[in-house]
Point group: C2
Chain length 448, copies 2
């Protein structure tokens, strides 16, 4: 290891090779507080060429490398275990926004919020948004195929990518920047690297497409009697509101936790079981469209906002879930996807099964119902006890759902991959991993 | 070969194993008329299980297999050379449209037009449309990552896919139907198989997402002074018309050929060099938006249509290019992508270079300018002389463009793959091909 550290120091300069425990610490623990590890060092290359040299050196030493962006992942995918942490924080250049092409090139370490601000100034938007925008980086978002709030409008991260530049385990640089919106010339590496969780290559730059900003946005919070109503309404809205921009679900439990933690008074005079947050955005004001949807029989009560203050007030009920839950304890956070029609049966069953196993556990559900994506947060479990996680994953699997909608497999879900992917597929994945990373140095603790 | 034919006959039944030359003929020649080959037989499995058995048998005999859908490809990608043709025409079941989920499952042999009609009846649309809709099949469209008219609105075929079921060379079935809109559980096989041109696996079923139908459509044909104006206007429209649904370009040469072949009188009193076909579609009438764009200084003349008869009349100028060109001769058809800003320099230069090499050649350009995609059609060349093709590909490459925007590499562009993809990438592709198809039986003459 000592020789390797010297080589790495020569590549990036001594001030960008962190070896002291107090400097390494923030790269060794993840944002959930559940995962801690040990890094030989943290290396911070400033260019693709330096990234290539770093990987070539680690490859020669057969030393594991864990790529790390904003360290905001939720499945332990960037926590080192006796590995070199390759931090992308100095790969932080953003090209000028090309407004004529509606495109931009971002290095891996650019934070989402920086990209969003640059787009906004140019009258454009980036298609992926999520609560971790202040820390999440483009490289991490590519590697996890980040989803978030607007997948139903713009698709996930994979759909935003025109081109990717990446470095293989042995230091070989491949991919093309700038890329082209249409390019059918063999196997598509940008799609493959998206969601590969840093196990095939280290993404260094991404060429991203942007969308015209939509000047009119309306938001409504709808109170419903039950989740069956939410499913019916989701299907209706998806079909009849082409300006639908976000469609989020949460429940009375979550509403009460947020109200309590943030000392907010509840938005409706009556109690309701289920809430939908509906957002429409368009070139003309979509309020009339949205208002028409509110006359549906499923809607028991509704609050609508057109101005940004009012809209933010409605969004808070949804976005403050994470912080309010965290104020009570460290939850197990399970991110799952289901066919829409299975939502009612699944939510009933998941509450029942959790109570059966852990009578004192508290289960809070919320998520992106427009994409069939539910976040199952469970409080009152010991951090390492995976009994309930496994029970939930098995339940999801029995409904034809996925054990990871948008967070990835990481370390957390690695033991359960075969609940969702066939052994034939996992075997193909292993063989593909060998092609890109024959010594298995890239993020060896995650996914496979 | 005799033993193999007997085995295949046992799998699909003798009436679905075509060996007689007159029955094989239509599978041995492609729709461009440029490619002819020889098939040992044509085998038509009716199920995924039969497809698996067919591939296992061919794999055991080390016999090449060429998957074939509608045989409407333009790069010779489905023409057999002493191979078994695996026709997907009996894999033609379409699930009922799931309107609540806005999803459908189609077997590989379902023709695009059949899918479109089923969607229309359900108030939904499929995101990919193209002139070959009557013959192109879903399996072929997945394998070529079909693009077409609405990529700027909905993305290409890859963006429409929720899940894919496929069969590896040795008969192993993999993939998941139904899939899930959000599913981050390792390497994404649907994306990888999309555009792989049948070299990695045979796609048997696809789970596709659908979009709400947009009730109001307006179309305009714009006459411009030059291609510089078209580039400026394209950038403007993309930024200011979020309802933009199609944006096509063609030129005076093509306009005159169509007018002559179809005996149509020209749409404008004056001569113009460059034409844009602009289509907007929205929930409310986008005419006012579109009309505002027509006041731009680049627009010399314009015709607008809101009703379907008038819109179709405008579209004909664009869609009849292929037939009108074919009436003159068999063109070399080069499908390329370019950065938008390179369109003016490229079009000038490509005309000049072609005339330099072949003074009597006639060059007609048209394409999807909204995606940076241009179809270069050249008449008056001998079918097998690739001198001009290669010159055009080199020119495209010098502008950072792609030698295939949407048609794929196939047989035609195989010798030029390295003009666009690096040797490192081609090496990765070869190794991935070996993982999926160790004996190299799947479509061995194309791509790699």
């Amino acid at each position: 290891v000592h020789t390797l550290l010297q080589t790495l120091s020569d590549i990036v300069g001594p001030s960008h090779l962190l070896t002291a425990p107090e400097l390494r610490a923030r790269y060794e623990t993840d944002c959930t507080g559940r995962y801690h590890g040990h890094a030989h060092c943290v290396v911070r290359p400033a260019t693709t060429a330096q990234t290539s040299a770093v990987l070539a050196a680690c490859h020669a030493h057969r030393c594991p490398v864990v790529p790390q962006g904003g360290n905001s992942g939720l499945v332990g995918g960037a926590v080192p275990h006796d590995a070199v942490v390759l931090s992308t924080e100095r790969l932080n250049r953003l090209s000028p926004i090309d407004t004529a092409a509606a495109e931009v090139v971002a290095e891996a370490g650019v934070r989402l919020e920086i990209l969003q601000n640059a787009c906004q100034a140019a009258g454009l938007v980036f298609g992926v948004d999520m609560a971790s925008r202040g820390s999440a980086t483009i490289g991490g978002m590519v590697s996890t195929n980040a989803g978030g709030l607007h997948v139903l409008r713009y698709g996930s991260m994979r759909a935003q990518i025109i081109g990717v530049e990446a470095v293989q385990a042995d230091g070989t640089i491949f991919g093309k920047i700038p890329g082209l919106r249409k390019d059918n010339t063999g196997y598509n590496f940008p799609s493959l690297l998206t969601g590969a969780e840093g196990t095939l290559a280290v993404v260094t730059r991404a060429h991203l497409l942007l969308h015209p900003a939509l000047p009119h946005t309306c938001t409504a919070l709808l109170a419903l009697a039950d989740i069956e109503s939410a499913v019916i309404l989701t299907a209706h809205l998806r079909l009849h509101l082409p300006s639908l921009h976000a469609l989020e679900i949460f429940f009375a439990e979550g509403m009460h936790i947020v109200a309590e933690h943030f000392q907010q008074s509840l938005p409706f005079p009556e109690e309701h079981s289920t809430y939908l947050l509906v957002e429409c955005a368009d070139t003309t004001n979509p309020l009339a469209q949205l208002a028409a949807a509110l006359t549906r029989p499923e809607v028991q009560d509704a609050a609508v906002a057109e101005d940004s203050v009012g809209r933010e007030r409605l969004w808070r009920w949804r976005e403050r879930h994470t912080e309010a839950i965290r104020s009570i304890g460290i939850p197990h956070k399970l991110d799952i996807a289901l066919p829409l029609r299975s939502f009612p049966a699944f939510t009933r069953e998941v509450h029942r099964q959790i109570i059966d196993i852990a009578p004192h556990a508290q289960t809070i559900l919320f998520g992106h119902i427009g994409d069939g994506n539910l976040h199952v947060n469970i409080l009152g479990l010991s951090p390492d006890d995976m009994t309930i996680d496994e029970a939930v994953f098995r339940l999801v699997s029995s409904y034809g759902g996925s054990i990871s909608a948008e967070h990835g497999i990481g370390k957390t879900k690695r033991p359960y991959l075969l609940l969702h992917r066939s052994s034939e597929e996992v075997s193909l994945m292993r063989q593909m991993k060998e092609v890109f990373d024959p010594h298995g140095i890239l993020n060896p603790e995650v996914l496979l």
